[in-house]
Amino acid sequence: MDLFVQMTVNGLQIGSVYILFALGLTLIFGVMQVVNFAHGALFAIAAYTAYVILTYGADHLPGVPAWLLYIGSFAVATVLLGLIGIALYYAFFKRFAGDLISTLIVTIGFALVVEVIVRETFSAQPKSVPPVVEGRLSLLGASVTWERVVIFVVAIAVTVAVAAFVRTTMTGTALRAVTSDAEAAALQGINVTRIALVGVLLATTLAAVAGVLIAPATVVTPTMGFEFLMKGFVIIILGGLGSLTGAIYGGLLVGMAESVGTQMLDLTTATIFTFCVVILVLLFRPQGLMGHAEL
């Protein structure tokens, strides 16, 4: 019983981290058909932003509470990533929208440049960021940190908020229209360029949320973006490229598969097991769990 509960808790806590990471990745694909390898780099920049601000705060601002520094980190990361997103959009995404190969090359190149700059600036040593909340929750013999509970709640809340935004607002409706058929949306008078930029900014904001929030639950390294990126792509392909609800199902499924597979198999086979589950799902649902590009 304890093991079953712990496996479930492990699966949920892993899944919530994956969901948070995958949301921005799937959104930008849905809106612009961009395979965004830069998402991992943006995520890493946000995590380092939290590291810098939290470390500076601990050293120089002893009276300022940690939660305020986190909010500050999130604000700074959102602005910083937003500016980078705008630059990426006008320099590359706008010109190569829908061109998978070109955007793939550009975003991989961008991610490599960021990795080198981060490594030269902060060294390759892993950095730790203090948790937003301390302590752990015991649940039916299983244990999970409050930090992970917060991530889970925020992941769900962010997903609900993004889903509400795209379903209930005019801008969100326009986003969905562009995702569905950009040319038809343009013919209806939607400013596709502006809406695509909104999509990019939404994706960079999600990268900022993920980077700042996941940073305390992991170690911050120059390569952390690539490590999460591989799982992120698996999740959005599994959930359905461009689908927000698909990212949730995909994240939870991969998280649970990792948790269960680890207990049943040796760790190498468990890694393969996760991918076998993904392949199995895609055999029956090639378009992913929720289908393609359904914001």
């Binding site: 806590q13 090359i105 991989i108 190149g109 490599l112 990795e115 390759a124 040593q125 170690v219 207990q263």
Partner: protein
């Protein structure tokens, strides 16, 4: 028109990729090759990816050793003094990257010797060329089968689990009042697998049952399920063997979250301060076999100087692996001076005979009884333990073979 548009479309991505690749491999600049009055030492180390910190630290340390020797007039040979030039290639810490680095160093750069090489898989790729071309190679690689009479040009310049694990295990068993079972975890690569074999052997010889042994994949970001699995076997102790500092920190946090407070070892872990940073307090009490604190007063003056200089220049801490880059250059220089030539067979022969002044003090190559040839550096073995934010030296063992040489 279409062709022009296509070209314009392709220009930017190709330019970005073109900018990125040299940046990713920065440090891999071409060297000059062997010339009169110059001996070229090659380094094969990771400059990109997870282990990039080892590469940048190794480069700085090798260049520091070369600068010191060059500033003192170079290496004296029968043909006059020669200066050292360092060339480094990124081996990406992979077999494929190691093969590319080997080709570049030996074929294009035509280095005279390899002063340092990092990572078992890339070193194996390099070794297949150095042995064939009779190029002396200093390495940090741990594999027992990398050395011996079949590989006479290969020398290890750091302590390995074969030297460290037994004294570490004996110390921990005594310090913890004895225990009966242990769970092992390592990284699924050549280094991890070979270290695990040593760990299995040593713990069995000491009468400790290995209740589980597993390997995690590079790139793993979530460790709670692995912690659950380790604890399921109810071990008295856990040995994280080759787990690198970042993942080890996360795993220790997950173990603590799930209630673990037993003896924990990172027997082949090298980055003590990095572990403390990554574990956020969960590393308290962890024993390590290759993670001396080189800023501590127990370290030699030279090591303290190197630690301070390296930290200032690169932000990296000196550790049990990268220290080998400094000692590799020093050992080769001493051997060339002893041989009076840079001819490889003479240098190889001299390496097995000299006692030289390493960062640890007097050192030599020995351990013929273990490897079948004198190819393992003899330096003190240091057992450390995490106490608070500090890496505390709890035991220092000088090999009897080294003591007999002093």
């Amino acid at each position: 028109m279409n062709r022009v548009t296509t070209l314009r479309k392709l220009t930017a991505p190709v330019l970005v990729a073109g900018l990125a690749l040299p940046l990713a491999a920065c440090g891999g600049e071409a060297g000059g090759g062997a010339e009169d009055g110059v001996v070229v030492f090659g380094l094969s180390a990771p400059l990109s990816g997870d282990a990039a910190g080892w590469g940048s630290a190794s480069k700085w340390l090798a260049e520091k050793a070369a600068d010191e020797i060059n500033a003192a007039g170079g290496i004296e040979t029968e043909d006059g003094s020669v200066e050292i030039e360092i060339v480094i290639q990124d081996n990406e810490y992979t077999a494929a990257g190691g093969a590319r680095a080997a080709q570049t160093l030996l074929t294009r750069e035509k280095v005279d010797m390899i002063a340092f090489s990092v990572g078992t898989a890339p070193v194996q790729a390099l070794q297949s060329m150095t042995e064939r071309q009779k190029v002396p190679m200093m390495t940090s690689a741990w594999g027992k089968d990398l050395k011996g009479p079949d590989f006479p040009y290969t020398f290890t310049v750091i302590n390995t689990p074969f030297e460290v694990l037994r004294p570490l295990a004996e110390y921990v068993l005594e310090a913890e009042g004895g225990f009966e079972s242990i769970a092992l975890l390592g990284v699924n690569d050549a280094t991890g697998i070979q270290s695990e074999e040593v760990a299995q052997e040593v713990w069995a010889e000491l009468g400790v049952e290995v209740v589980s042994s597993d390997f995690y994949e590079h790139g793993t970001t979530e460790f709670a399920p692995i912690a659950t699995k380790l604890l399921r076997t109810k071990p008295d102790a856990i040995d994280l063997t080759t787990v690198t500092p970042g993942p080890a920190g996360l795993l220790l946090q997950a173990l603590e979250d799930q209630g673990w407070d037993g003896p924990t070892l990172l027997s082949a872990g090298t980055g003590g301060q990095a572990l403390v940073e990554a574990a956020s307090g969960a590393a308290e009490g962890v024993y390590m076999g290759l993670a001396a604190d080189f800023s501590d007063t127990n370290a030699t003056e030279k090591q303290q100087e190197l630690q301070a200089g390296l930290e200032k220049a690169t932000g990296e801490d000196l550790n049990g692996v990268t220290i080998g880059a400094y000692d590799g250059v020093i050992a080769l220089a001493a051997a060339i001076e002893e041989a009076g030539t840079i001819e490889s067979d003479a240098v190889r022969e001299a390496l097995t005979e000299i006692t030289f002044e390493s960062s640890w003090g007097a050192a030599a190559f020995g351990a013929e009884d273990v490897y079948g040839a004198k190819q393992q550096i003899l330096t003190p073995m240091i057992v450390t333990q995490v106490r608070g934010d500090a890496i505390v030296e709890v035991e220092r063992i000088v090999p009897a073979e080294l003591e007999s040489l002093q």
